[in-house]
């Protein structure tokens, strides 16, 4: 969950690993300050957020995500916890994997190349011999489609 959360707004994987490592160290050292164990995931995300902002500032970069969007992200994670209270995070993410599996092949291809094989959009455009803009649009549509599918399923009553 921690890596997924950080990867939402930090694009450098190595930096994500470093921030995650620092976050865990701080969480261990400050565990006594956690009042309600059930709030651990949200508490950990809060530490990760601060560490990410510090790390990006040190590198002269800016986190281009508004406070409203960060708040919305926390609410999404909270909905995952409420919808699947007994599951691990890998099990909860299976919903996202199902929604990814329903994408048309053209959108799955660009998602796989970009997110799983770490190809840059320019490299994907060259591989598929399409315009860069086409790749970017496909990635946007894929994300939007997965988002809508996940939101719909989380809004459903548990069976």
């Amino acid at each position: 969950m921690l890596l997924a959360y950080l990867s939402s707004f930090v694009s450098d994987h190595k930096l994500v690993e470093d921030i995650a490592q620092q976050t865990l160290l701080i969480a261990y050292r400050k565990i006594n300050s956690l009042q309600y164990p059930a709030a651990f995931p949200a508490w950990l995300r809060g530490i990760a957020r601060l560490e990410a902002f510090s790390a990006m500032r040190r590198q002269g970069r800016e986190v281009v995500v508004s406070p409203d969007v960060l708040q919305e992200m926390d609410e999404v994670y909270h909905q995952f916890e409420e919808r699947f209270p007994a599951d691990t995070w890998e099990e909860r993410f299976h919903l996202v994997e199902e929604c990814y599996g329903r994408l048309p092949e053209t959108l799955q291809t660009v998602c796989r190349l970009h997110y799983f094989e770490d190809c840059k959009a320019r490299e994907i455009a060259a591989s598929l011999t399409v315009n860069l803009n086409v790749v970017l649009k496909r990635l946007e549509r894929a994300r939007a489609a997965i988002r809508d599918c996940v939101r719909q399923h989380l809004a459903e009553e548990p069976s």
Binding site: L3, K14, D18, I31, F40, L44, Q71, V76, Y100, A144
Partner: protein
């Protein structure tokens, strides 16, 4: 879900929280992307706690202990159990596949990753390649060793050298030479010499200490901070290609920068062919030898998903060999440009390493069961590549080939791997994948009824190197 017609003129709204969460989950491959963050954090904690064992108890901890002892036994136990449970649940739910090394009596600080003609002194430990090392002193009589720290700093040490491993992200160099390649996570990696301390600020650097305790420091990339025992309170910031000498009396003077004064850590650079996993199913060209870089070409093959009961080793696609029109082996090639790697080849010690996976359907006596991987490196331009390939054993600067006979089990992918020295003059490489025509094929029968290749991996490996210049004595 149906893909609607794209309209490139519509402005794109910024992503909302839902979209960012989904993107983050995609990046982690639905929570399955391997991560070392937890292991590194645990190792760092254990190392810090081991080193702090003799330190006096901080006042805040004494207050916590007092508050703890005032609790009644049951709630105290319940809290401890609850805390352990929370930490346990958090750890195992976040990273169920990782096992922290609790209970390890001595926490490894680094691993001996490589050695080059290393000879250890009589009173020193004699670690083997792959052996984890803990706090302690090593005395290297001669040769070069590479130490890979868990903090992600990599250090090459050249003997004669006396090195003390004294912390998770630090070492003491009392004599000898070393260089460090420090990843961002190991920022702060420090080297102490008898009269100076060098702290990494995100860099590659070298330090050499002579018998009189004078030292030379060179920064290959990035920045370091230097302090000396003789000039307490002063610090020097050195950047790219700067070098200083620290005299036996602690004086700091600039000196000529020379990277060859220091040993160098190993390097592994991925040079995979384009579409190395054959997952982009429409990226293929039918024909003869390719004349340009970065595309597969061959007379008879296709890229396919799962078929005939065989699935790709990784990703969505794999290569299927087909019978060429004129008969014979079924071959596919790709040219790889080596000119971007000239700096790595210049050392003269570089090696090309390549591998590929092969599989086939169950066959009979007449169907092919052998495959081959070939890499051949050439100088100059890729002109008349068909001739260069045909005469590779005569004209190539380096050739390596591996033929494997595969089993009759479609469930197993089998690897062919090659490695060969790569001369500094190499400009490009041809990678050839081949399904070998069987000698006993029946007339009219398809010699390649279901023969596949997947995941071609190539990398240039440069081993650890000794310095080229003697240290001043």
């Amino acid at each position: 879900m149906v893909e609607t017609t794209p309209n490139d003129n519509l402005p794109t709204p910024p992503p909302d929280g839902w979209e960012l969460v989904c993107a983050g989950i995609l990046w982690t491959r639905f929570g399955r992307r391997p991560s070392r963050a937890l292991v590194r954090a645990m190792t760092q904690l254990a190392a810090e706690e081991a080193l702090a064992e003799d330190a006096p108890e901080p006042a805040w901890l004494e207050r916590v202990r007092e508050c703890w002892l005032r609790w009644r036994p049951l709630p105290r136990f319940a809290f401890a159990a609850g805390l352990l449970l929370v930490i346990g649940i958090a750890v195992w739910s976040l990273w169920p596949s990782l096992a922290p090394r609790f209970g390890t009596p001595a926490v490894p600080i680094c691993t001996l990753a490589q050695e080059l003609d290393a000879q250890w002194a009589a009173g020193s430990p004699h670690p083997k390649v792959g052996e984890p090392l803990t706090v302690g002193t090593l005395q290297l009589k001669s040769g070069v060793v590479e130490l890979d720290f868990t903090s992600k700093a990599r250090v090459a040490v050249e003997g004669p050298a006396l090195v003390t491993l004294n912390g998770y992200n630090t070492l003491k160099l009392e004599a000898g030479k070393m260089s460090a390649d420090v990843q961002p996570s190991a920022r702060g990696f420090s080297v102490q010499t008898p009269n100076a301390t060098v702290v990494d600020l995100g860099t590659d650097f070298g330090v050499a200490v002579a018998a009189d305790h004078s030292a030379q420091l060179a920064v290959f990339k990035g920045r370091v901070k230097l302090t000396t025992t003789a000039r307490a309170g002063m610090e020097w910031l050195l950047t790219n290609s700067m070098a200083v000498a620290v005299g036996a009396n602690g004086d700091v003077t600039t000196t000529l920068f020379s990277e060859t004064l220091f040993p160098q850590v190993s390097d592994l650079i991925a040079t995979r062919p384009s579409n190395c996993g054959f997952n982009v199913l429409n990226e293929m060209a039918l024909g003869g030898m390719p004349l340009t870089f970065s595309n597969w070409s061959g007379p008879a093959y296709e890229l396919t998903g799962p078929t005939q009961g065989i699935g790709p080793f990784e990703g969505a696609g794999m290569l299927r060999f087909l019978a060429p029109p004129g008969g014979g082996d079924s071959v596919v090639w790709q040219l790889i440009d080596l000119r971007p790697f000239k700096a790595q080849l210049a050392s003269g010690d570089a090696q090309i390493r390549a591998s590929v996976l092969f599989n086939r359907v169950r066959g009979n006596a007449g169907s092919a069961n052998e495959f081959a991987l070939t890499v051949a490196a050439y100088a100059g331009e890729p002109v008349d590549t068909a001739q260069l390939w045909a005469r590779r054993k005569e004209v190539a600067l380096a050739v390596a080939e591996k033929v494997i006979a595969t089993d009759n089990d479609p469930a197993t992918w089998e690897k062919a791997a090659v490695a060969t020295p790569l001369p500094a003059s190499a400009d490009f490489m041809i990678v050839g994948l081949r399904a070998i025509h069987p000698a006993t094929a029946a007339a009219g029968a398809d010699p390649f009824p279901g023969h596949f290749a997947d995941f071609v991996d190539c990398s240039i490996y440069v081993p650890i190197r000794a310095s080229l210049s003697p240290i001043n004595r």
